[in-house]
Symmetry: C2
Subunit: 258 residues, 2 copies
């Protein structure tokens, strides 16, 4: 039986990027799209709990859901797909998902939900501005999925793939990277309403990312595809040890009841 | 000058939990609330980019924003507060934020945004069901904030505090913990609309959390307050090393252009 691959995104079921990923994954297996009915960027890892969701079959193997990317993955795996998928593939996103951005990203959150549901998952994004060269990302989506089908992924870990928005020939190869840091630049614009009161619009400024040896943004800058393994256990084990040494948690009384 | 403390949450500015936290923090410094105008649970780390936001002064030092918890922290630190805060405190949430739930949580995402903006931050939640005993959480909010004011926090790290919803006397002490795993139980209910078509409602089942030595849920079960240090760098460094050894990324050709 051919491997089953779930494709989703946060730009919506009608986006060019998801169709490119759909065709790419069809070279490897049986593919379903279950994706938001419209753009759901920056919704992060939201699950819709306050209302029921509708999954509309648009055409063979392509479903539109009136919810978030995370909703789509949960519905697909638990209700829509004929069997468990071997891979959740999210993208191809129009724009970067680098560094701390991954905590906001709808594209990455779909891969996080896949991982929580014990399915090896990856997110793939084009770093740059319109026009997006989806054909540049396609070979790296195929390569990543082929690796996962052969090797699976380490426990609790997804792959975050970013591809520079340059021509296929200009791409110099792949680098494995760590997440960089977003550097915040006070990107809030003040706007005055017709009634004269001040509103705030987030996103007025530019995003910066720290560059540094081994960081995702650095690889992109140099013309490489960046692949970062991300795990869901956000526990800071070093800090756990440090706090245990330095914080007298129970006021010198030890733990009550012990 | 008294330390400045920002209080926010995802249950909304009018919730009982945020007022309990406001009063608790006032024992330590000058306190502002900048919080969503209504409940914004499960919005995760969403930033509102598609429309301007309004910050309404309700009364002295208390602002309501028509956006997400993350929006509130970004607006507060960059636009509303008279100077940089020493702490972002998020809560007191009605309900647990344990294990993988932190990737969904509006309460925790406010503390994540505080951390990204270089402000030591913590989230505090009551684990249980209504009626919520906010007075049980208050001493642990104060204790956590006092520790942060004295010691700050490790780089890129926030504290996720969960308090069992039992009486103050029943709480046995504090334990430092690691994040557990959510165990998913297919919690999607099918509902039929008046027009006869099937919809899906997420949340129909129960959430389970893995219990185990040192895990957050285990501490709660035993009647302790759980404090988990969480860092934002989700890079899986072990997997990075493993993939580097096992994945012939560039098809034996090395990196192009090197």
């Amino acid at each position: 039986m051919k491997p089953l691959i779930l494709v989703t995104n946060d730009d919506g079921v009608h986006s060019e990027g998801i169709l490119a990923l759909f065709e790419a994954m069809r070279t490897l297996g049986e593919v379903y799209i279950v994706a938001p009915d419209r753009e759901r960027s920056a919704v992060s890892h939201a699950l819709t709990l306050h209302r029921p969701l509708k999954a509309e079959l648009l055409r063979d193997c392509i479903y539109a859901v009136n919810g978030t990317p995370t909703d789509c993955v949960a519905l697909a795996i638990n209700k829509i797909l004929p069997r468990r998928p071997q891979i959740v593939a999210s993208g191809i996103n129009r724009g970067a998902n680098l560094g701390d951005d991954v905590t906001y990203s709808g594209t990455v959150s779909a891969a996080i939900e896949g991982t929580i549901l014990n399915t090896p998952s990856f997110a793939i994004s084009l770093v740059g501005d319109s026009p997006f060269l989806f054909e540049s990302a396609v070979p790296y989506a195929v390569k990543t999925a082929a690796y996962i089908l052969e090797n699976s992924l380490p426990y609790d870990t997804l792959l975050n793939v970013n591809v520079p928005n340059i021509t296929p020939k200009e791409i110099r190869g792949i680098k494995l990277t760590r997440l960089g840091k977003r550097i915040y630049d006070n990107a809030i614009k003040e706007v005055i309403s017709p009634r004269g009161d001040t509103h705030y619009w987030i996103g007025g400024g530019q995003h910066f990312h720290e560059h540094g040896e081994g960081m995702d943004m650095q690889a992109i800058k140099e013309g490489y595809v960046s692949i970062t393994p991300i795990h869901l256990d956000m526990t800071n084990y070093e800090a756990l040890e440090y706090l245990g040494r330095t914080w007298d948690l129970n006021d010198g009384q030890g733990l009550k009841g012990n």
